[in-house]
Subunit: 319 residues, 2 copies
């Protein structure tokens, strides 16, 4: 988020987060929440709440609580997902279960979900949306774990998994802002669809960055997903294309233990098979679909500029 409105919104959100952290009780239950919320983040989801409210003529300052609630929910899922994935780092810093321990990360995450709900309780329709999408995120994480145990995952199953795990929350964030702005139901659906496509583009871009990004900027080990044998778009399409081309390098590497995997060799194969280019094209596709959805919303075109800018920022990001 580089220019005027996005930067201003981000500053508003950081300020709201600081105020929230300062108001936390002095109890070990809350320290991990403060730690995670203060790690540098892109604040895409809370930013989306503000932008959607503004698109429909509503004061963004009025929706800051719900924006914070969405960011808290997102960080709650990170805290628990990092336990499940045994991830040592998050945004380049130790994960909560590494810095404290697993029990603390479970319990503090639980309390963080309750804190998120306290912020989402003002409007019944917002609350309904939030619960519905929160369940979607849990279902997505469940599928993620299921897919990891399988070697025959189809790319459509993967897309549906990341739609639930990642994309629906961005769609939810935009719908929350639109709902608080009293936008008509059809418009709320459209902006929700925009968010889902943007979320898909965002996650596919994440997969690409994990494998082909600059590790210093991304803040985690290069190819960490490949080393873990995680079924991402890259690995799934890589395996399909390898099988068609009679190439066995990827399956050979997957047959080894994670520590013994030659990640460079895996990256080389993905590049040669054109999987990187294919993933980039998928990102572009969902980006275009997101913009199409935005176009159908009945609001003066000039007011859509900040959301277009957000979409572009997500596409251009290097971490």
């Amino acid at each position: 988020m580089s220019t005027g409105i996005l930067a201003a919104h981000r500053a508003r959100i950081e300020q709201r987060i600081d105020r929230w952290v300062a108001g936390l009780p002095d109890d070990p239950l809350y320290a991990p929440m403060a730690y995670l919320m203060r790690l540098p983040g892109k604040r895409v989801r809370p930013g989306a709440v503000l932008l959607a409210a503004e698109l429909f003529g509503h004061d963004p300052d009025d929706v800051l609580d719900e924006a914070l609630g969405i960011e808290l929910f997102h960080n709650f899922t990170l805290m628990h997902d990092d336990i499940m994935d045994q991830a040592p780092l998050r945004r380049g810093m130790p994960t909560v279960h590494t810095k404290w321990n697993v029990n603390t990360a479970i319990l503090s995450g639980d309390a963080m979900l309750v804190k998120a709900y306290q912020l989402m309780a003002r409007d019944p329709e917002v609350l309904r949306l939030f619960s519905e999408h929160a369940l979607g995120v849990c279902e997505g994480q469940q599928r993620d774990m299921d897919l990891e145990r399988r070697t025959d995952v189809h790319v459509d199953e993967y897309t549906e998994m990341i739609r639930l795990k990642t994309a629906v929350l961005l769609g939810c964030a935009l719908q929350v802002g639109a709902t608080l702005a009293k936008a008509p139901s059809a418009e709320r659906m459209r902006i929700g669809a925009m968010g889902e496509h943007l979320g898909l583009a965002f996650q596919l871009r994440d997969d690409l960055l994990d494998a082909f990004g600059d590790p210093d900027k991304v803040g985690k080990q290069r190819g960490g997903d490949l080393r873990a044998g995680k079924r991402t778009f890259l690995l799934i399409r890589g395996l399909e294309k390898s099988d068609a081309a009679g190439r066995t390098e990827l399956r050979e590497e997957l047959g080894r233990s994670p520590e013994a995997r030659d990640v460079q060799r895996m990256l080389h194969v993905l590049d040669e098979l054109g999987v990187e280019a294919e993933a980039a094209a998928e990102v572009e596709h969902h980006h275009a679909m997101a913009l199409d959805a935005l176009d159908t919303i009945d609001v003066a075109d000039a007011r859509k500029a900040p959301l277009r800018e957000l979409a572009q920022a997500l596409l251009d990001r290097v971490h």
Copy 2:
């Protein structure tokens, strides 16, 4: 819950749970919830919601969703607490993280909390109460873990911990029923206080049953808390009285690894020092306080009979 109204309420609750389980999506995320909710339970908390509503002249059938929500929340805390406590058994059956795995127990528990919220969303004041008390329960679990690492716990710290971890949820259940029945605020406070005292009596009775109950009826190993070195009322007072009497058996046993602890010897010391009797007196004290709170509520005395019966059932229970 033996007689008429309590048994009828329990049947209503079981029926509502069955309907809820039958409506769950066919997804691995939900199977552990169904499993835990179908284990035989006393249904004290949802029963309390119905009884409180009825006390203030409200149809108990109208508050079944919130009663289910409270029971879901309670079971969510059990699912996560069992991970943290590394408990193999719950109600005599394998815990969720044992039957499935830790990741499934974390994630299914998270989704269960969201499902609980969906049922608590009808009334804003109920929602507010629920979030406030849910945080209290998390704070209580945090203190429980903190106390376990210390050898110098005072009995007042223990009582405050179990108040948060266990008692506030029973107080919350009663307040939820009273709130939905549109009881005046002062009456809601009184029934909340009744619930907290009842909850304290309930938990202290649990401590007693863990040590001195019949293992076949209790459904877990006798003295499991003592073996784990868990700071309960019995162990804390046992250590205090041992130190005063110059007896060292308890500290000797705590110095050993859990597997090597002589639980029979520990039980014998607690009995000789009169700690069992002291705990039983504490149970009686909080039971009496609960009944005192009920007495101050401005409702015809005859209508209070089912709540008195509930209090007695909790005191008399053997498991």
